[in-house]
């Protein structure tokens, strides 16, 4: 029975891979492959669940595929099935199937027809990995690919400014969530000294004893999970990305932001419930987030004058309620609530263009001019204040920008004086010295060693920040990224005397290929287009779609997507950071956080947005 679980990963994967090889003009075939594979999945899941219910709905666990094994570390895929997975898998397959059928007609003759179906299938694959995941590593894998597919679908209309800008905005928050998950995994390794499965977490005695042994670490771990869930489900204070993510075709907004992707935060909480059930502070935090979101999002939803943003905030408010329900242990209710909400919002988004005709018609027969409100009274003053703040979305967006991203930009900008050739050479020399030191490890006294690796991690972070604020040369920004990664590797390697060569090779290999590919693409583009810059979005994809794909692959490899060696490398590196190394882990984490943003920023600025050459129709910046 367990063995069947992997089927539900392979079917979407097969569908996705098949869809990559079809000719872009074969609309029927492309959509056919897409909805057929999802239909197979749907019927498979229905049969599976029926059988599973008949045999008494046991919790299933399948240890699947070992990526990497070493004395103290084992990284493997693991699948898991319980009622939560059952509901999510059924809901996911059903909604995706319906929306794909809808899209078959809706996207007819769209120039991105194939791209759309490819991306939705990749999303569906990632969604299934996430919900079938049996351990944090597997879950993270799906989680991260979901983020990337989100980016691709938000920036679906990549020749306009706002979709690209909002895709970057969304992915930067998603990345924060990913990093939180990595930190959770890191802590988990150190607490459990193994790759803990959700199956094991069901054992409440075991969990309880661990919690009391490592209380602080567990609090940290759980906080990370809660933040990841909060971001994914657009809860307070991370709500403002959701309405802005609705830039793609209405159908993709419906499947992503109306139903499946936003409810994954709730999924994560359900999945880890046994872990935090007895940890009161976390429970309170989740309830508080739920209440706050429900109230704030409802206030914002009430003043929205566009259909899609109204639906987005209304949905966010309901998910807030679900957070509370999860914390209170009403899990059957949650499952019903989220299924209903997902279906309702999907439908409402899909029919949102009808609102104009329907409501105008209603208005013609029903309109009553609203009475003039008296102003000046204290009550009206309060209500005006609430109104104005709600219009401003309670400044969530600005605050996040100020707190999260501005500090990085500030540090980067104040250090820009070293961002020149001299600086580059200097960084190179320091790195080579570091490399030598690494080989002469035995000669360095222990205390210096300690400082050295922290210094290197720090320099790695500085480099990535420099890349993040680079305005002129994409190539320079790219080189900074490469250097930064080398520093991070060196730093972690220096620290760990037991660090094995294979691991470094694995990571550096992945990085090296991606780095080289990126350089080649940028060089070639430079030759063709002469001046490249990062001041604005330049939309070079219009003339160079192929280069753009290569560069995107390089970027994704760099970020450590699952299909690249750097993914395992990344995971391994974290396992080599000792759990006492707070300073080191901070630097490394910031590096990884900014890494994806810096890389995608280069991609977006060079390739996406309104084309700089107005030899053809180019959209206004304000659209």
């Amino acid at each position: 029975m367990e063995q069947l679980l992997q089927l539900f990963i392979f079917i979407p994967l097969a569908g996705f891979i098949a869809s990559l090889f079809l000719k872009p003009t074969r609309e029927r075939l492309i959509s056919g492959v897409a909805y057929t594979s999802v239909a197979i999945q749907l019927s498979g899941i229905v049969l599976f669940i029926t059988y599973w219910l008949l045999i008494g709905s046991p919790v299933l666990n399948l240890k699947h595929f070992v990526f990497f094994k070493e004395d103290n570390i084992e990284i493997y895929l693991d699948f898991y099935f319980d009622k939560t997975t059952a509901v999510f898998s059924l809901l996911g397959a059903l909604v995706t199937f319906l929306v794909l059928i809808f899209s078959k007609y809706y996207l007819h003759r769209d120039s991105g027809f194939k791209r759309f179906f490819n991306t939705v299938l990749l999303f569906f694959f990632a969604f299934n990995i996430t919900i079938f995941a049996g351990n944090f590593e597997t879950l993270f894998l799906g989680w991260e690919v979901l983020g990337i597919t989100s980016f691709l679908l938000i920036a679906f209309y990549r020749d306009r400014y706002l979709p690209v800008k909002n895709a970057l905005k969304t992915i930067s928050l998603y990345r924060l969530g990913d990093i939180c998950l990595i930190l959770a995994i890191w802590t988990s390794h150190h607490i459990w000294h193994e790759n803990i499965t959700f199956f094991k977490l069901d054992n409440s005695q075991l969990v309880a004893s661990h919690i009391s042994d490592h209380y602080q670490s567990v609090i940290f771990l759980l906080s990370m999970i809660v933040i990841a869930a909060t971001i994914k489900s657009a809860q307070f204070p991370f709500s403002s990305w959701l309405p802005r993510a609705m830039e793609g075709p209405t159908t993709s907004s419906a499947v992503f932001y109306g139903s499946l992707a936003v409810h994954l935060g709730v999924f994560l909480l359900l999945r880890t419930f046994n872990y935090w059930e007895s940890v009161l502070p976390i429970k309170i935090a989740i309830i508080a987030i739920g209440i706050l979101t429900a109230v704030v999002a409802t206030m914002i939803a009430r003043v929205q004058s566009t259909v899609k943003t109204q639906i987005a905030y209304a949905s966010v408010a309901q998910i807030g309620l679900m957070f509370i329900e999860v914390a209170l242990g009403w899990h059957v209710l949650v499952l019903f609530h989220l299924s209903g909400n997902a279906l309702l919002r999907t439908y409402q988004l899909l029919v949102s263009p009808s609102v104009l005709g329907y409501m105008i018609h209603e208005q013609i027969f029903k309109f009553v001019p609203k009475p003039i409100k008296s102003s000046g009274s204290f009550a009206s003053k309060i209500s005006n204040t609430i109104y104005l703040h709600s219009i401003k979305e309670w400044n969530m967006d600005t605050c996040l920008k100020k707190l999260l991203w501005d500090p990085f930009k500030f540090i980067g900008k104040s250090l820009q004086f070293i961002s020149n050739k001299v600086g580059l050479v200097l960084f190179g020399i320091i790195f080579i010295t570091g490399l030598l030191l690494f080989y002469m490890d035995d000669l360095i006294p222990k205390p210096i060693d300690e400082y050295l690796h922290i210094t290197f991690a720090f320099l790695g972070m500085i480099l990535i920040l420099l890349s993040f604020v680079e305005k002129k040369s994409p190539l320079k920004a790219w080189v900074f990224i490469i250097l930064s990664q080398l520093y991070v590797v060196l730093s972690v390697a220096l620290l760990n005397d037991e660090y094995q060569f294979v691991e470094i090779l694995l990571y550096v290999c992945g990085l090296g290929v991606a780095a080289l590919l990126g350089i080649l693409v940028l060089k070639r583009l430079h030759r063709l287009e002469h001046d490249l810059s990062l001041q604005d979005f330049y939309g070079h994809i219009y003339h160079h779609p192929k280069l753009s794909i290569w560069f995107l692959i390089a970027c994704l490899a760099f970020v450590g997507l699952p299909f690249t060696p750097s993914f395992i490398g990344l995971d391994l590196m974290y396992s080599h950071i000792d759990h006492e190394e707070y300073v080191l882990v901070t630097f490394v984490t910031i590096s990884f956080l900014v890494l994806e943003l810096a890389v995608l920023r280069i991609y977006a600025r060079v390739f996406l947005g309104p084309h700089v050459k107005q030899t053809h129709a180019v959209s206004f910046r304000s659209t």
Binding site: R109, D159, G248, R302, S305, V307, P353, K366, K373, S622
Partner: protein, 857 residues
């Protein structure tokens, strides 16, 4: 459908003295002028430039605002390669324009020479200095907030909470809120202070931001055109506040002042107290945005290509018509009794059904006239709180038609209810309606059906309801409008229409007056598919009102005195054709006498057959329908399409328009026009001195020309002049669409509506003598402008000689057709079934979907 015929201001901008009034006036003139979507009316997108010649205008607009003015050069060259642009025509045009001696050089240029096509627009340059010098992107900082405030203020009913105060006008309401709340619109004290002052003028604010007065005008243009969608809407609402049901007062001036204060706020916030104005750090001299645009060789090349593209098609049509006439003049048909007659709108979507009716019933006769049938009024549906205007946009009716005795109840749809967006009711909704929504979705995907959420053309008026057509007495008025028409007023209208189409004798026993409308699901632009002559609404009421007038015994008596004798046995029947679903509904059949009632049953069959065939003809452009399928299946698929939520192209609207033919139906009867022609019936024989011709021709420019040009511009630059693809559209405030939560409004036509369109100017063919036509079009400067400035082409078909003359530079010049090969068809089914379907919607593929001119053999 009507172009805004605005007073043309002098475009010379006075550089030194800044006049607020003047600049606001200029801005309003150039901003897009699309009203809220419920009142969608086609118009020339570049109406502001209409006083200049077409090519001068488009290249100038292109240079100033950065639009694409024509198809790109490479597309023209491809069209030439595939033969869509005819070489003989191209050669002729090159010789005409450049002389025979230069023709080979120019041909070389056209086909091979490389040109720098990059278009660096003038707008936005000045204001861009904030970014280039100070790295401040004012648009990013201000626009999302500004748009949200505007959309909330103007909101018609999406938001649950109304904008707190909106009686005083935009700026006053904003001030009121700023005063009466604990929050503020602004970050800085300085902005708050300025906002509080009563007498702040635009130039005061510009002094702070820009400094030097010489730059003010340019700066305001830069600013307002950075979000031309919103500014355009505000400008329209200032002129026509009645286009909003829930009244909101707003002026462009308010918007400008508020935005300038927001700019001060952000600049102060970013640059610190008392920042230096823009002029203090720029070296560029001020310049006039509207200065002469340098003419380039590329423009010449594009002009020739565009002309060749147009005439390659026109020439074929003209040859086809000429041949058709000559074939017909050979065989004299005996005059038989007409089985029935039918009036349709001139709309090119009715062009096909007319020929199918004629092919099923050789004795049937059809006429085309503007679809409000000459009766102009406001309509009030029973229990409605508002009036609908049912006549062309520029006309202001004095009459009101009220509906009464409606038995049917209106239906509602829970999924649009605000309850689902509140916290507690949303919770309950999710647990109940949520699952129902899933069921609904499945149902609509596999079995689409009409529902209250779909705009239904037939629901505009209740077929069982009664209408106040007869005026009881002159004092029966409501809100300044006379209820119903007097006998005299009715007679005038019936007489006018019959004269216009030249139907003065030989009346059939039933005359159908078929209006049109369009049903579509999930389509904010549905108004664009309804009848333009009825202000973007279905024309059902008009057809009923007209029929009732023409059936009135008193009216008939008066008509007889005026020389039009309609036999007692003749009866008029109103009807509505749903151009998306291909269904016809007939009104007031109870009045038919026994013989006519029988005849109607027979005629109805003809209509049904014609509708089947019409559905088949339309289906060839829809990829999801197999044109070779059984005809009833096609008809069903067409009907389903109009109620399918997932279908962004319920119908293709005016996508195929290119021609407008004014004359006797015999001229085009038997010619397969591929739904591309507006057909206006007119008989020169009944109007030798052109008395009625002026009336017939005056709406052609604004109505048909407006449609044609809106399609042209939305097609050549769908991103800036059109609304872009429909798929990501987000409905705002029930008056417009944007692309996302923070985006600008998108006026113009969405890509799905224009992809089948060949961007050609309209060719108007009039069957009359050139001198009479000239006299007609010169009778009003507004009408003449359309023709003399070449926004539409005009050809006269001389009824005596059957020769064409082309109107150019103020006179008619002889035109010889070049096309030799005329296609013939025997069986319309195989013609439709074997037609090619476009591979992609690139123009080179899209244009191949159009069929050439065919004659029935």
């Amino acid at each position: 459908m009507q172009a805004q015929v605005l007073q043309q201001p002098t475009k010379k901008m006075s550089m030194p003295a800044f006049s607020e009034q003047h600049v606001l006036h200029e801005l309003k003139h150039y901003l897009p002028s699309q009203a809220p979507l419920k009142d969608f009316i086609h118009h020339n997108t570049l109406h502001a430039f209409q006083e200049t010649k077409f090519y001068d205008a488009i290249f100038k607009a292109s240079k100033i605002f950065g639009f694409q003015a024509t198809l790109p050069l490479v597309d023209f060259r491809e069209l030439y390669k595939i033969g869509r642009i005819n070489e003989a025509i191209l050669d002729r045009i090159i010789i005409e324009k450049k002389g025979a001696e230069n023709s080979s050089l120019w041909k070389e240029n056209l086909i091979y020479k490389n040109y720098d096509e990059h278009n660096e627009q003038r707008i936005g340059k000045l204001r861009a200095h904030w970014k280039s010098v100070h790295h401040i992107n004012l648009d990013d900082l201000i626009q999302p907030f500004l748009f949200r405030i505007l959309s909330s203020y103007l909101d018609q009913g999406i938001a649950i909470c109304d904008f707190p105060i909106h009686e005083e006008g935009f700026l006053a309401s904003m001030k009121e809120i700023e005063k009466n709340s604990f929050a503020s619109f602004f970050k800085t004290e300085r902005a708050r202070h300025i906002f509080k002052q009563e007498t702040t003028s635009i130039s005061d604010l510009l002094k702070i931001i820009v400094g030097d007065e010489r730059y003010f005008e340019q700066y305001l243009f830069d600013q307002q055109f950075s979000h031309s969608g919103w500014s355009g809407l505000v400008a329209v609402l200032e002129e026509r506040p009645d286009t909003l049901l829930s009244p909101k007062k707003i002026e462009l001036k308010d918007l400008v002042i508020f935005e300038l204060i927001l700019e001060i706020d952000h600049l102060e916030n970013e640059l610190g107290r008392n920042f230096a104005p823009l002029c203090s750090f720029i070296s560029q001299e001020p310049y006039n945005l509207f200065d002469q645009v340098e003419s380039t060789e590329l423009q010449e090349v594009l002009k020739i290509w565009q002309d060749a593209f147009e005439w390659s098609y026109y020439d074929e049509i003209l040859a086809g018509i000429q041949q058709n006439i000559s074939i017909k003049s050979g065989n004299q048909y005996p005059k038989t009794e007409k089985s029935f007659q039918a009036f349709f709108c001139i709309d090119e979507r009715e062009c096909s059904i007319r020929s199918h009716i004629e092919s099923y019933d050789k004795n049937a006769e059809t006429f085309g006239c503007p679809g409000f049938f000459g009766v102009e009024f406001y309509f009030q549906a029973e229990h409605a709180r508002f009036y609908d205007k049912l006549c062309p946009a520029p006309v202001t009716p004095k009459y009101l038609i009220k509906e009464y005795d409606v038995s049917e109840k209106r239906k509602h749809d829970i999924f649009y209810s605000n309850y689902t967006h509140q916290i507690a009711s949303g919770f309950i909704s999710a647990l109940t309606f949520g699952f129902w929504a899933g069921y609904r979705l499945v149902k609509n995907l596999f079995q689409p059906k009409m529902s209250p959420a779909i705009s239904n053309a037939f629901a505009h008026m209740n077929e069982q309801g009664k209408l106040t057509i007869h005026n009881k007495n002159i004092n029966d008025r409501e809100n300044g409008l006379q209820i119903g028409f007097t006998i005299e007023e009715m007679t005038n209208r019936v007489e006018g229409l019959l004269h216009g189409i030249g139907l003065l004798d030989n009346f059939a026993s039933i005359i159908y007056v078929v209006a049109h409308g369009s049903s579509s699901a999930n389509n904010p632009h549905h108004g664009a598919h309804d009848c333009g002559a009825c202000s973007g609404r279905p024309g059902s009421v008009n057809s009923r009102v007209f029929s009732s007038m023409a059936n009135d015994a008193e009216v008939r008596k008066l008509l007889k005195i005026r020389g039009i004798d309609i036999p007692v046995s003749t009866q008029f029947v109103g009807a509505l054709h749903d151009t998306a679903a291909d269904e016809i509904e007939y009104y007031d059949l109870a009045i038919l006498n026994e013989i006519n009632a029988k005849k109607h049953i027979h005629n109805k069959l003809t209509f049904e057959n014609a509708l089947d065939l019409n559905a088949k003809e339309r289906s060839r452009r829809f990829a999801s329908i197999n044109t070779k399928a059984e005809i009833k299946k096609i008809r069903k698929a067409i009907k389903d399409r109009s109620v399918s939520l997932f279908e962004p192209r319920p119908e293709l609207g005016h996508g195929t328009n290119t021609l407008c033919i004014v004359g006797n139906r015999e001229m085009t009867r038997g010619v397969f026009l591929d739904r591309r022609a507006f057909l206006n019936s007119y008989d020169y024989k009944t109007d030798r001195d052109g008395k009625f011709l002026t009336g017939v021709m005056s709406p052609l420019g604004p109505v048909c020309g407006g449609i044609s040009l809106e399609y042209y511009f939305s097609r050549v630059d769908n991103l800036k002049l059109g609304a872009g693809t429909k798929l990501p559209h987000n409905v705002v405030g029930l008056y417009g669409v944007t692309n996302s939560s923070d985006g600008d409004l998108r006026p113009g036509l969405p890509w799905q509506m224009v992809e089948v369109h060949d961007p050609l100017r309209l060719l108007v063919i009039v069957e009359h003598f050139p001198e009479i036509i000239l006299k007609s079009i010169q009778s009003s400067p507004a009408m003449y402008e359309w023709f003399i400035n070449e926004w539409v082409h005009l050809i006269s078909l001389n009824p005596d000689t059957n020769e064409f003359t082309y109107f150019n530079e103020g006179q008619f010049k002889p035109y010889q057709t070049l096309a030799k090969k005329i296609h013939f068809y025997k069986d319309v089914h195989s013609l439709l079934e074997n037609a090619k379907e476009m591979e992609t919607n690139h123009i080179v593929h899209a244009t191949q979907e159009n069929l050439p001119v065919y004659l029935h053999n």
